[in-house]
Amino acid sequence: MIKSLSQAISIWAKTKNIRDTRKANLVKIALKLYVLPKMGYHSETLSPGEFLNLCSQISCFELNSVDILSDFDQSFLERINSGSISIATKRNYRSALGQFLNWLKTQPWYTQAERPIEIPELPRRVYADKLLSRTYDGKRLYGLSVQNLTPEIAQDLEQYVKFWRKGSSALILSLSKNNKIPHDPSERKAWRIEKVQEEVQDGTYPLSPIFRGVEEATIQQRKNQILRFLGWCVNIEGYEIQDLSIHLLTSQSLYRPYIEWLEQNRDCGPSAGIKVLNTAMSVVKYSSFEESRTTDWSDIPLLEFLLQQKNNHNRNNKSKLIELQQKKWEQKEISHEEAREIVEYLYRTLCSPQYFLIKEDGSKRLFSRDPSTIVENWQIYLMIKILVYAPVRQEELRKLRIDDTLKLIEDSEGRLRYAVRIKEHKNLLKTERPRYYPLPGILTDDITTFINKIRPLAINASKTKENWLKFWNFTERAISNLDTRLQEAKNSDSPDLKYIHSAGLRLRAMKNRLEAQEVAKINAENCNHLFFALGRSVHENFCIPFEDIHYGTVTGKISKAVGNATFTLFGQPKFLNPHGFRHIGSKHLRKIGKSSQKDKFSLFVGHGIEIDDAYANQIINEYDLIEGIIDDWWHEQ
């Protein structure tokens, strides 16, 4: 819809300085008789209704293309010379026209008009080499699955999971329920007296450990750790599964060689040993809960021993850990300034529907992105932009649901911004409160554009077969043509096997994609997440939220995009993962001298100040800190 001249005049005519004057009429006449004809419109002889109609078809911005007042002067002069008007009337028209033009220049919609859509000119993209994968002795996976366990071990493991889900208060409640209280009143009385006598005889009032239930992700990590340990026993060490139990993880005769094997044969760092020992301690706590008579299991020697082992392990590996952290950060550290530059670069290179590719010889070729690529690129761009300006956990990005966990609000100063409110989050058990925070205003326009213009490309894609094919940029005819060519290639006297293989794969992918439309339609109808998978490799995953997919999917997309961008922009790839943005943010805050605001920043990103300090310390060095004050440390603030 154009921003029409008639609307501009209409609204101006109602403003306080104009509405009771003849000025709006003078402007209309000036435009009709003197200005628009100079711009090529035949407006002089139109009726008022016809003129209004014409003005509703003329964009205000056409006035920018000419010098209105000089056109008016010239045209007026011609009419004076022809004797049709007198010069005395000119001043009124000119003044009103000038006033209208000046008013236009005060209106934000006029001065901040959308720039004409520029199609970016881009050189051929460069891709950073991927980081080398870890190399292992033997198979990548060595852990067992629950199906490989004996019923006894499986049941024990299930009990372990339930134990950590519940927390001590729920456990004590369920234990006391196990004491069957007699229904009959006289029997109940006798039973209670017996219990009282037992308590008096014991002379002690038994305590039991107090702990909160653990977050599900942690429980699953520990469960998988146990399954990997059992897998090492069976697949690497050759034990029979029926001879094992989860409690063997607490025995140093087994966990020590396991940790050694992880570090020496599996390229694991010292943190792997810490994880094994943490899991071993959780198994001890689980098995000794009823036995312990303290609130913190301090009467269980095995637990004390494991804790000491863990501390020793930490101490012995401190320098190795620091070295490893440094090595890790060398591959991914960028500054916050660079991160912001990456955001701009990604917008410029990934988000436009069309772009000119600049070839080596300097010639240009126009390319259009298909809708699926636009959605994919926008998701990556927007996720990275959010992580740069709001370094929250990746988990929270994946949980953003439109008008549910993500809402557009008007803040106390009347600015529109998005706010996030997530009930189920990592620290819920600790904080017992939902995560609730505003997002920076710099994200508002992009999130709105994504929600209103980009995301619907995917959500509406599966509604009809036509949309679906258009979204993925192929046609039924393309399928049948490929099918025909493939058959011809197969029937040829000298079949090109390489072509047959690749064409066969492409054909199968297209057919599968076509068949997935119905599932995709159901997924899209149920999807209110901001970010979701497009199912490029698993077609049925179309519109499945990233929340329901392994977190590695998002990590991979983001670190790859940052790796490619840093390679192009700074000449060296930095594969920053989503969590890394939290460290970058914490460091930046301290580097620019806003340490006094770290408590609020910690609240924003959702962890304690201690963790925030630890995150910053991993990548901040003394030089960075000193550099921030070196030139003015003696000045009073």
Binding site: K3, A8, S10, K16, E410, N452
Partner: protein, 89 residues
């Protein structure tokens, strides 16, 4: 002409008309976000009159009832104005 009667133009309230023009002028490719505070402030500056939240929501409702705007999510997309049907001034 319907059933032998001449069709009559619909007159919109002043606030609704101003809001409509403002939405059109402020709209992007697909529509515009109606920032109510910004609009009320602009209205007071330009028109020299105050506008309450209630008057604003009445204006929105009026435009909605005549299908002059389409509210999609949080954005408002102004629909074409039929000059045969509505008063412009």
């Amino acid at each position: 002409m319907i059933g032998g009667m001449s069709s009559r133009k619909i007159r919109l309230n002043q606030e609704a008309l101003i809001l409509y023009d403002w939405l059109c002028l402020n709209s992007g490719l697909n529509g515009t976000l109606l920032n109510s505070r910004a609009f009320i402030k602009w209205f007071q500056n330009e028109m020299g009159e105050s506008l309450s939240d209630e008057q604003l929501s009445e204006a929105v409702e009026e435009l909605k009832s005549h299908r002059l705007i389409n509210i999609i999510g949080w954005q408002i997309e102004p629909q074409p104005f039929d000059q045969q049907k509505f008063y412009v001034d």
